[in-house]
Symmetry: C2
Subunit: 364 residues, 2 copies
């Protein structure tokens, strides 16, 4: 390919949530066609060129040039088939780490990437025993499979008697130290097919009950990007990644990574020239990735479980409303991006928007 | 309306070119539905919720809450019908100034807005006579109707014998002094339903044969915004406007205005937080307009009459490819946005992109 505009690249996206929706909106300026695998009412399906039900995954994958995903826990057969056709990016080696927490954690350890101290337990009984023996009953039990947005995680702070039900659980667990962090942070980075790497500045994140509420940045610390580069190079990763960290007394520890565009990177739609979504599309289609320097301080507030978005919010930010069918508790329905002239300015706008959207406080 | 997201606003756009296309892409984050009047292969129709042929204009206008246009020379019956239904924004008084150049020029004069010296001629013969008597055969003859992108304009510099054919033209003309400008400039401004006004910083523009080739900014001079405010207030304008100027020895003169989003405002997609397109949608739907301060120095290069867009362009900018069916000489097929740390940086990137896209030079 010599001219960008003399061919159209067909991109298949597995999963049709808001991440796919933003990927398409950001990619519309390029001569790409977007095919999405999800139900027709999914946000991304509504802006796609073609929508395929999960049953039709083979048809979609056969028709496109490259396949990516907006959610790593999407139909496994579809991921496998796309990998077998040599079309999946990022590749299955990366997705596999996310299928089992113990694999992800072990990968960090083997690659000398900093992460909280952990043990692997084969069932609930062993998990509780390790918690007692190694962590004096203060720690986190995480089911190895199927956990995201705080699901399948138990934060135990001595009150172990409340968690007796875990004893009968037959699944694998990761048992982890409880990190009394100063703050949480994340970094969004991108790596292209030739191994070129770029990272946005990290951000300060505020999570509640396992869900991101808001984040803002930049957080100026090069160590995050160094870790991201080591992780991505070792995986031969292609695309955008999001890596979440705990910061404790100046020490940085990987909490987990997401092998895709990430909620903490939504601010790049406005505070950066090239967004995390466009970077992902550039990387997987073999195009040159763009600059990741911020144009401005920026941040984001999630709209969770409510459609109360007072008009006044527009004084301070831009609203991204995903157009989901139903308002449900804890559901990510949209977000508000803000920019500002310094961190305090951004944080103040976030505080105002929080009060406007959640006048009674957050209910997660 | 108290919450932005508890209602969906239906917006009708007359005309389906790239300006409508970007309006929709920028508006997709809001709970708006977009209906477009144009042929199905038009860029905006491809991303609209519904597309109506020009014959069906009444049906479209009846179904939507507010009607706007992306091109002022669109089907007159549709503009009139939308105005009659009280749905057209900006209103018909503004469009009417654009139907006849003599009305637009007279409006400037009556409102004491600076514009090049001009006379109105009832036909070609009178126009040539005025050119001789008042301007010593050096000036610009502009047909009063139907001119844009340099069409219907004759720049005569003494070589009047070449323009004998004008003598037989029976249409009205505006005969204008030839402005030997130092540079051309423009400003993008927005005014909401309550009369609130905001303007982006002006930009330096480079036109060739009546078509914008590139522009960049900010140009720091408050006089442009003052003129924009006076013009918009006097028209009770609602929406985004683009006003083009000549700058001659420090004096600024309005060349013309466009009652819509404008090619010289495309850079606001990337160098500003809220783009000219989003501002227009906010203004016509009764939402609060956003900040117009730039996040960065920025600029734009038009892709005219070629689909040669080397991949290297992505090193310097973001490509907006409109997806038009055919490459035609002088046709606007896309544009490239750039940002930079100062004017020189932006201008250097523009120069590089110009050489990449037009290796043999521009052919307009």
């Amino acid at each position: 390919m010599k001219s960008l505009t003399q061919n159209s690249i067909k991109i298949g996206i597995l999963g049709g949530g808001q991440l796919g929706w933003m990927m398409i909106l950001e990619g519309r300026k390029y001569p790409f066609a977007f095919y999405v695998m999800d139900e027709p009412e999914a946000p991304a399906c509504k802006v796609a060129d073609k929508c395929f039900t999960p049953d039709d995954y083979k048809k979609m994958i056969d028709e496109v040039d490259v396949v990516t995903f907006e959610f790593e826990h999407v139909k496994e057969e579809a991921l496998q088939y796309a990998e077998d056709q040599g079309k999946l990016l990022p590749r299955l080696n990366t997705v596999e780490l996310k299928r089992e927490r113990w694999k992800e954690k072990t990968y960090y350890k083997e690659h000398n990437l900093p992460t909280p101290r952990f043990y692997i337990a084969n069932d609930g009984e062993e998990a509780l025993r390790i918690l007692k023996d190694e962590f004096n009953n203060v720690g986190v039990l995480k089911q190895s499979r199927g956990g995201y947005d705080g699901k399948g995680q138990y934060f135990i702070k001595g009150d172990v008697e409340k968690y007796g039900f875990i004893k009968d659980m037959k699944c694998k667990f990761v048992v982890e130290e409880f990190v009394n962090f100063n703050y949480e942070a994340s970094i969004i980075a991108v790596r292209d097919r030739n191994g070129n790497f770029k990272a946005y500045p990290p951000t300060f994140n505020y999570n509640e009950k396992g869900i991101l509420v808001y984040n803002y940045g930049p957080l100026k610390d090069n160590r995050f990007a160094e870790i991201a580069k080591r992780l991505m190079d070792s995986l031969e990763y292609v695309g955008t990644i999001g890596i979440e960290f705990f910061v404790r007394d100046g020490e940085i520890l990987i909490n987990e990574f997401a092998p895709r565009v990430h909620n903490t990177g939504h601010y790049t739609l406005d505070a950066a020239f090239v967004s995390q979504f466009e970077q992902h599309l550039r990387a997987i289609t073999g195009l040159e990735i763009g600059a990741t320097e911020l144009l401005s301080y920026g941040g984001m507030v999630n709209i969770l479980g409510t459609d109360n978005v007072p008009l006044e919010v527009l004084k301070y930010g831009k609203v991204y409303w995903y157009g989901k069918k139903e308002v449900r508790k804890r559901r990510k329905l949209g977000h508000v991006n803000v920019v500002g002239s310094n961190l305090e300015d951004v944080k103040q706008k976030i505080d105002i928007i929080m009060k406007l959207i959640y006048p009674q406080g957050l209910d997660l």
